[in-house]
């Protein structure tokens, strides 16, 4: 496990499990500590509960048993300075009737921050994702990748400490995805963001993560953990390195094992 130095872990999942109302066991009790500044990726076959785990971390759903801690406190303290999180969905989920800048400003508006005070932060967030020139555009005038950038800018504008992303680039073509991955790793590094990322892509997981958690289904659980030992910030060169290929091969084998019906909980 990665240790977070003197800073407390961003999130601790303490024997949290999830049984859905129809009786399905979505997640077996899970123990996980997410260190401050870590880029953690959840990967696994469908039904392994990676999105469920992410929703638990976002407090979108509550655990049936066990509990979670955010910065060593409960969820009521989340939202205070230094304890903010933002969630990026699979879809950009933008308001089609609002211009790009208004979409990015939304979270500030929802927390009653004045428009004049919000403006420089919106501009900064758009700058970070390279969309300054498109602030007056409507979402329908943007490509899929650009919409996703707006969605990321909307997350960054709140200056989050923890960024939760649920397969954000899953619907994009590979070229756009690689580009956004490279941008994301830069933003993560510059902003010292703790990030929890859900993906189906092995390459994406290896390229981005400091740690990858491979999950298995029935019930959803942590199968194995892989630490990607590669200095940051990573550039495109990493993708072409033999090390990258080796990580991908190993992760691919693990995923295949995790997908077997007989997969039993392994030791990391």
């Amino acid at each position: 496990m990665v240790t977070g130095g003197e800073r407390p872990p961003a999130v601790e999942v303490l024997s949290a499990e999830k049984v859905f109302s129809n009786g399905t066991r979505g997640l077996a009790p899970i123990n996980l500590s997410i260190a401050d500044g870590e880029f953690l990726t959840l990967i696994g076959p469908s039904g392994c509960g990676k999105s469920t785990l992410l929703k638990l971390i976002a407090n979108l759903i509550e655990p049936s048993d066990g509990r979670l801690l955010w910065w060593r406190g409960d969820f009521s303290q989340v939202g205070q300075e230094g304890r903010r999180f933002a969630f990026v969905f699979q879809e950009p989920t933008l308001m089609p009737w609002a211009r790009v800048e208004a979409n990015v400003r939304l979270p500030l508006e929802l927390s009653n921050i004045a428009k004049t005070k919000a403006a420089p932060r919106v501009a900064e967030a758009l700058e970070q994702v390279g969309l300054s020139a498109f602030s007056k555009h409507f979402p329908r005038q943007l490509s899929g990748g650009m919409k996703m950038r707006v969605s990321i800018a909307r997350a960054l504008v709140t200056k989050p400490n923890l960024l939760l992303m649920d397969e954000p680039f899953g619907a994009l073509d590979e070229f756009t995805r690689n580009k956004l991955d490279a941008d994301l790793i830069r933003l993560w590094w510059e902003g010292k963001l703790t990030t929890v990322f859900v993906t189906h892509s092995i390459y994406e997981a290896v390229f981005l993560s400091t740690r990858i958690i491979v999950m298995a289904a029935n019930p959803g659980r942590i199968f194995r953990t892989m630490t990607i030992d590669e200095p940051q910030p990573r550039g495109e060169g990493f993708r072409d390195s033999p090390k990258f290929a080796a990580y991908c091969r190993e992760l691919s084998t693990w995923l295949a094992e995790a997908s077997l019906p007989s997969a039993s909980a392994g030791v990391s």
Binding site: A58, L60, G79, F87, F89, E91, T93, M95, P96, W97, A98, L106, P107, E109, L110, S111, F138, P139, R140
Partner: protein, 266 residues
Amino acid sequence: MKPLLHSEAFVRIAAPLGVGIALFVLWEVGFRLAAVPVYLFPKPSDIFTSFVNNGPSLFRALLVTLRVTLQAFAAAVIIGTLVAFMFVQSRAIEISLFPYAVLLQVTPVVAIAPLVIILVKNTQLSLTICATLVALFPIISNTTLGLRSVDPGLANYFRMNRASRLKTLVKLRIPGALPYFFGGLRISSGLALIGAVVAEFVAGTGGRSSGLAYEILDAGFTLDIPRMFAALFLITLTGVVLFAAMVVLSRLALSNWHESEIRTET
């Protein structure tokens, strides 16, 4: 320069206009040749002459009908929107009241109009009430549907950001409901006119009205068929203008973002 016939906008106007003119010419020429008497079925020229001769009284009647229509339409929009807001605030309210909204909708206005006209002394007001009853339902049902049809992802996002009920309504539900609301406006504007005319007919048989429907009734009594047609044309024209106004309004509000109003450039 592009030939006019290849211009979409030109064809859109010219084609139906051409059909209309052709029909009028056929009508005029055919009825002249067949020597159909004016009291059976007038020619366009007879109707036009009637327009000129009865201009002031027809115009006065138009204003009366238009006033009832617009008042009823405005009332329907205000009441309908308020009811829709109430419906989405609480499921209990919707369940208890929606059947009555349907009840109002399915009862023909001709059947209630005499009752309303007897109960309400002021003719103008009674006509407006009848027309409002007709125009109300599309606004209620469309706006309710719109306010409920919130993008689930965005709704989730608002909830996650702990948005207040009011903020969610103003920032998410209302803008999202606009396309449905404008759809309701289009239907309702036409219905308000129908309601007004039908109510005038009912009131007119009692001799208590002065709108276009009364003109039609009166022309029927005196066998002034061209005047009847002239009044009929005015009613149709009013309906078309109202509909067009709603189309323009909807385009102004939605053209930037909603699929229904986006004109593709291909």
